[in-house]
């Protein structure tokens, strides 16, 4: 007696990417739904018949009905798999919530919404102990009841829950799930959701992470876990499978010269086989000469054309004053004087003026470079 299943979580279908331009936002939204098919493929390839979704299936209780239906139809389209959906803090099982609405228009036959704490039979001798969240915020460990919950002797017990474990604190909110729950509740495996990066808590406790990343955080997001439990008491075999379409890259680079831009670009582009599936956030620090500052915009435009999305934070990038740097201004002593004054203001002017001075200097070089030939 054993069982194979796919553990996934935090689909957050319907998540809006309003901070991105409309086209990018639409692509990212669609990618989350498209991911379902790849998750199904992972299950089929491994010979699993069950997909356990550990919460946050939907991003919000306020989604339009058609978004709710789109997912249900995507799941209905894979009838060879049974999908176990657990409400999380984004889509808690509360009155009037997203699940009420879904139940209103009916679940597909191959889908089970786990709206109340309790056990379900996955296969003969395999019990799924589901701990849905019924509110957006809770201070109670939703898995606590599993310790005392009895199943027939020799049964395989799989736990399914959503929330941070109490040892996590990086999210800024207190964890609620006891990291030792798998042991205390005699679970062969505890499938958790909420943490978007794939994370192993112990040999029986895992966060699958979100199958399609949705933010700039280097936390191994974009996977599902293929889990195999060979029998009661057996340590599960857990294998991450990449399902993400988009790669979210967050890089920081300290620049000393304009060559640093090329370096960071090469590093970024190496993160994905297709640059168009890259979303990039760069934090540039260090110093660039005034003329290089003007080239920064051009470089940025070039990289922006390659990747799906680019954000560059150059507020930490200083400006260096080098007399030879002003060669781009030609022999025009008057312009050189202007550039010197702006550079000085960018370096030691009042704080609130430094950024403006830096931008003015970059604008000077930009305008000079755009002056028509034959101009005085």
């Amino acid at each position: 007696m054993g069982i194979k299943f796919v553990h996934t979580a935090d689909w957050q279908i319907g998540r809006a990417f309003g901070k991105f331009d409309a086209g990018t936002a639409a692509r990212l939204e669609v990618a989350r739904l498209d991911c379902i098919e790849r998750i199904g493929a992972v299950a089929r390839v491994g010979g699993a018949r069950h997909v356990l979704v550990a919460g946050d299936v939907y991003d919000s209780p306020d989604l339009a009905s058609k978004v709710l239906r789109h997912l249900m139809e995507a799941l209905r389209a894979q009838p060879d798999l049974r999908w176990w959906l657990l409400p999380g803090n984004h889509d808690p099982a509360r009155s009037g919530g997203v699940w009420d609405r879904i139940l209103g228009f009916g679940l597909p036959a191959n889908v089970t919404a786990l709206l109340a704490p309790g056990a379900h039979i996955l296969d003969d001798g395999v019990h799924l102990l589901a701990a849905p969240l019924v509110a957006k915020q809770t201070s109670q460990d939703p898995t606590a009841w599993m310790d005392d919950f009895e199943t027939p002797a020799g049964a395989i017990r799989i736990g399914l829950a959503h929330g941070s474990i109490t040892t996590f604190s990086s999210e800024g909110d207190g964890g609620i799930i006891d990291p030792a729950r798998a042991k205390g509740a005699r679970l062969e495996y505890l499938a958790l959701g909420d943490w978007h990066g794939t994370t192993q808590v112990d040999s029986r406790t895992w966060y699958s992470g979100t199958p399609e990343p949705d933010r700039f955080r280097d936390n191994a997001a974009g996977n599902v876990l293929f889990v195999q439990v060979d029998g009661p008491g057996a340590v599960p075999a857990v294998t991450p499978h990449r399902t993400a379409r988009y790669t979210w890259v967050q890089e920081a680079e300290t620049l000393q010269d304009v060559d640093g831009l090329a370096r960071v670009e090469a590093r970024v582009l190496s993160r994905a086989s297709l640059p168009s599936q890259l979303l990039v956030r760069l934090a540039l620090t260090g110093r660039l000469s005034a003329s290089a500052q003007s080239g920064l915009a051009a470089w940025r435009e070039g990289l922006e054309g390659k990747v799906c999305h680019l954000e560059v934070d150059a507020s930490g990038l200083g400006i260096s004053v080098d007399p030879t740097d002003f060669a781009a201004l030609g022999d025009d002593r008057a312009l050189q004087t202007v550039a010197e004054r702006l550079a000085q203001a960018a370096i030691d002017g009042p704080n609130e003026r430094r950024e403006v001075a830096k931008a003015a200097l970059a604008k000077l070089f930009d305008l000079v470079s755009r002056m028509p030939a034959g101009a005085p």
Binding site: K19, D59, L335, V356, L364, V368
Partner: protein
């Protein structure tokens, strides 16, 4: 560049061709009076160098002759070491030819000409540029101090100046940068205040952000509403589920069923009790009826027996009384007949008495009537006399007062006539014997003797005595005051008299007096007749006649029974009859008094018997035959006893049922419980209905909201809002950066200005020293002149005289022309009557300056001042005819 020849045809005043040939290229002076065509030459030069041959603008229209034609202009000029000829014809005959007159002798035509020409003479963007500044048209010399950059003048001048300032070349780039900054800022922000420009990207970003803020607020509100709606839906669903929970419904139904069963059982028992009570009541009523029937029948039988006995006992006495009464009534009837006969006699006797009285009265009345009829006849005769007299009187009546006034007037006239006659001349005619009638007066032959004074009076006191054959003797009374007064009195009196007689219709006064006497006599007679009439009929004739008629009517006397019966005998007969009648009436009264008690007794007895018989008749139909009275009574008593037994049995049954039935309060409590349970179920149904309606409404609202997807847009709009805010900040940062850059450029520009102007000032000062010794000009960065500083003081531009202004304008242009010449781009300075306000002394100095300038570049001086220009020197150029064709 130097102009060597200018030729025009069909240009302005020059409809026929004219040319200025052989220009020296130094100081060339064209002197011509106004209206000859100097300015036409100036405009022709502008047109040929600055206008395309296809142009149709104002400059072309200005040189087109009024009579029409296609302006043809041809100019020979040297530039860049080569000689060229530009030929342009405008309007319908438009063409352009640029020919090199030396060297390669290239020739260009049509559209290629303009670009090539611009390149040759250094025009940019098709604008006059530096040439525009150096070519000063008539009338524009007073406003040339700031180069017009719309014509490219300023830019061109800057270019040349910068070529002279080797170490300050940045000035031009600096301005170019400022122009680029201004262009970028102009897209984003308003001028000085640097606020978001309408329709600009900054403003659009702000609008978009603000719009998104509103959308975000709306979406959040919609989201809240949607959540509240869904929560309400869930709450309703919970309530509905709670109300329709099977356990709850089953319990409620069971409770209701039990309550209904208990109530129905109680109601059935109560019905049994009510039935027993009803039966007992019915039997009690039957008993009462049986007892009452027996009692009634027994009473009726006894009453019938008593009535029959009373009737039998009363009948004999009644029959005797009736017989006695009949006897007495017969006697009364005899008396009544006697009294009736007496009453007839009494009436007849009474009639006779009255008739006798009336007859006596009628006889007296007839006598009175006869007397009155006599009086009436007399009165009527009197009345006729009165009418006759009255008629006569009306014919003789005069106005007594007027007649008196006429009598007085007559007397006055007579007195005046008498007085006049007394004063009239007394003429006596005494004819000599044998002579008579020889004197006439008024044609009347006068006899001898004294003349009647009245003649004199009648003729105004004058007597005109005519003696035929002798003459006329006029005798006139003396004119005294009395005479005049008397004459007036007489005239007035006679007038009054004549008018009065006419008014009274009298011939003379005597007739009036006679009529007065007749009238008085008639009046006296009338009064006498009236007195007789009054005595005879004091109330008037009509009243008297009415009285007679009344009397006559009263004499309608009825006839007497016996004409012979007199009034006394009739009275005696009447009295006897009345005595007999009184006696009989007394007897009748006595009989009637005796009869009345008997009648009353008979009536009473008859009434009693009638009542008994009537009652008996009423009872007899209800009663059996008298023979069956005893058996019927026995049967009734037996029935009564049976009814009593049944009623007692029913009472016992009622007592038994009552022991098994609860009281009314218990039944009511059961009914109340059923009602309460039913009300509870109804309330639940109503509540369910309300919930269903609410859910339906909420669902409908949610479907609409869901379709609109507003609530779901919150995160998306939030993100878009953040991006829009970032956009706004980016524009703000860009504007701030551009503004800072511009400020920095301005600061740098100002610092370099003085040095930048050095080459201009260097070229200007030699000319300035010639005209304004010891003075220098202050200029702005765009080469506009600010002021003239002289040892005696500073003159601002706006207070300079016209002469000073035009002198400075020419000197500044001389300076720039020299500067251009130094830069190897010499251009002719063309002045068209540019010194019109300058006095002679200053004009000489200006001529010196021009002569010095002409050493470095060409000056074409167009003027109408023949004498003054003599001092200028240079080469005088005259107009010569031109056919329109020039040999090459």
């Amino acid at each position: 560049m130097k102009i060597r020849a200018i030729r025009v045809r069909d240009v302005g005043h020059f409809a026929a061709g004219a040319a200025l040939e052989g220009l020296s290229g130094r100081l060339d002076v064209v002197v011509a009076n106004n209206e000859i065509g100097k300015s036409t030459i100036f405009r022709a030069l502008e047109a040929v160098f600055f206008e395309k041959h296809t142009g149709k603008g104002g400059r072309i229209q200005a040189i087109t002759p009024r009579a029409g034609g296609s302006p043809l202009i041809e100019v020979d000029f040297d530039v860049g070491g080569a000689s060229w000829r530009i030929t342009k014809q405008f309007d319908r005959g438009r063409r352009a030819v640029l020919s090199e007159l030396s060297g390669a002798r290239r020739q260009l035509r049509g559209g290629d000409v303009d670009d090539a020409l611009a390149q040759l003479i250094g025009l940019q963007d098709g604008l006059p540029g530096r040439l525009g500044f150096l070519w000063v048209g008539q009338g524009s010399a007073l406003s040339p101090l700031a180069p017009d950059n719309k014509r490219g003048e300023s830019s061109a001048l800057h270019k040349f100046v910068e070529q002279q300032v080797a170490d300050l070349t940045g000035g031009g780039r600096l301005r170019a940068l400022r122009a680029m900054i201004a262009a970028e800022l102009n897209v984003l922000a308003t001028g000085a205040r640097r606020e978001p420009k309408a329709h600009g990207p900054w403003k659009r970003a702000i609008s978009q952000r603000d719009d998104l803020k509103q959308k975000f607020a709306a979406a959040v509100a919609a989201q809240t509403q949607s959540r509240e709606r869904r929560e309400a839906m869930a709450a309703n669903r919970l309530q509905r589920d709670a109300l329709t929970a099977p356990d709850r419904v089953a319990t409620a139904n069971n409770n209701l069923a039990q309550a209904i069963a208990a109530r129905d059982a109680a109601l059935a028992s109560r019905q049994l009790l009510r039935d027993a009570q009803a039966r007992s009541h019915v039997l009690d009523a039957a008993l009462d009826r049986a007892e009452r029937n027996a009692t009634i029948l027994q009473g009726q039988i006894e009453e019938a027996r008593s009535l029959e006995a009373a009737i039998t006992a009363a009948e004999p006495g009644l029959a005797a009384a009736v017989a006695e009464l009949a006897t007495r009534r017969s006697a009364v009837e005899g008396l009544n007949a006697r009294i009736a006969a007496l009453m007839i006699q009494e009436q007849r006797a009474q009639h006779n008495v009255q008739a006798a009285q009336q007859r006596a009265l009628a006889q007296e009345a007839q006598m009175q009537l006869a007397a009155r009829l006599e009086a009436l006849l007399a009165a009527r005769a009197l009345e006729a006399d009165l009418a006759t007299v009255a008629s006569e009187l009306s014919g003789t009546t005069v106005d007594e007062a007027l007649l008196d006034r006429l009598i007085a007037a007559d007397a006055t006239a007579k007195r005046a006539s008498d007085a006049l006659a007394a004063g009239a001349p007394q003429v006596t005619i005494e004819y000599v014997p044998g002579v008579s009638g020889a004197i006439t007066m008024d044609g009347t032959l006068l006899s001898g003797g004294p003349l009647d004074p009245s003649h004199a009076t009648a003729s105004g006191g004058r007597l005109r005595l005519e003696i035929p054959g002798v003459g006329v003797i006029t005798v006139e009374a003396a004119a005294t005051a009395d005479r005049a007064r008397n004459l007036a009195l007489r005239v007035e009196a006679e007038t009054t008299l004549a008018q009065g007689l006419a008014a009274l219709d009298l011939q003379n006064l005597g007739e009036g007096l006679i009529r007065r006497q007749q009238s008085a006599a008639l009046r006296a007679r009338f009064n006498g007749l009236q007195a007789q009439m009054t005595a005879l009929v004091p109330a008037g004739l009509a009243a008297f006649e009415a009285q007679i008629e009344s009397t006559r009517a009263a004499l309608d006397i009825p006839p007497l029974e016996a004409d012979t019966l007199d009034q006394g005998a009739a009275s005696v007969g009447l009295q006897q009859v009345r005595r007999d009648l009184a006696e009989e009436r007394e007897r009748l009264g006595s009989l009637q008094l005796q009869q009345e008690p008997l009648i009353e007794a008979i009536a009473r007895e008859e009434a009693t018997l009638s009542a008994h018989r009537a009652r008996l008749c009423t009872l007899q139909p209800k009663l059996p035959e008298p023979t069956a009275w005893a058996s019927v009574l026995a049967g009734l008593l037996e029935n009564t006893q049976m009814a009593r037994d049944a009623a007692n049995a029913a009472l016992r049954e009622l007592a038994a049922v009552r022991q098994n039935v609860g009281d009314e309060a218990a039944v009511s409590a059961l009914e109340r419980r059923v009602s309460a349970l039913e009300a509870e179920q109804k309330k639940d149904q109503q509540h369910l209905h309300t919930i269903a309606l609410a859910m339906e409404r909420l669902h409908g609202e949610e479907v609409i909201a869901d379709a609109q997807e507003v609530a779901a847009q919150v995160p998306r709009i939030d993100g878009e809002l953040q991006r829009a805010e970032a956009d706004v900040q980016r524009h703000e940062r860009d504007v701030a950066a551009l503004a800072l850059l511009d400020e920095t450029l301005v600061a740098s520009d100002a610092a370099n200005l003085d040095r930048f102007l050095i080459p201009v000032v260097d070229n200007l000062n030699p000319y300035l020293a010639l005209v304004f010794p010891g003075a220098h000009l202050t200029m702005a960065g765009d080469f506009s002149v600010n002021a003239l500083k002289r040892p005696s003081g500073t003159s601002e531009l706006n207070v300079m005289s016209g002469g000073t202004l035009e002198q400075i304008a020419v000197l500044v242009r001389l300076a720039f022309a020299s500067l251009m010449a130094d830069a190897g781009a010499a251009a002719p300075l063309i002045l068209d009557d540019a010194l019109v306000y300058t006095d002679d002394e200053r004009l000489k100095l200006m001529f010196k300056a021009l002569a010095r300038g002409a050493e470095r570049h060409q000056i074409l001086f167009l003027t109408c001042h023949q004498n003054a220009s003599d001092a200028l020197g240079g080469q005088r150029v005259e107009f010569v005819p031109w056919s329109g064709e020039t040999s090459s």
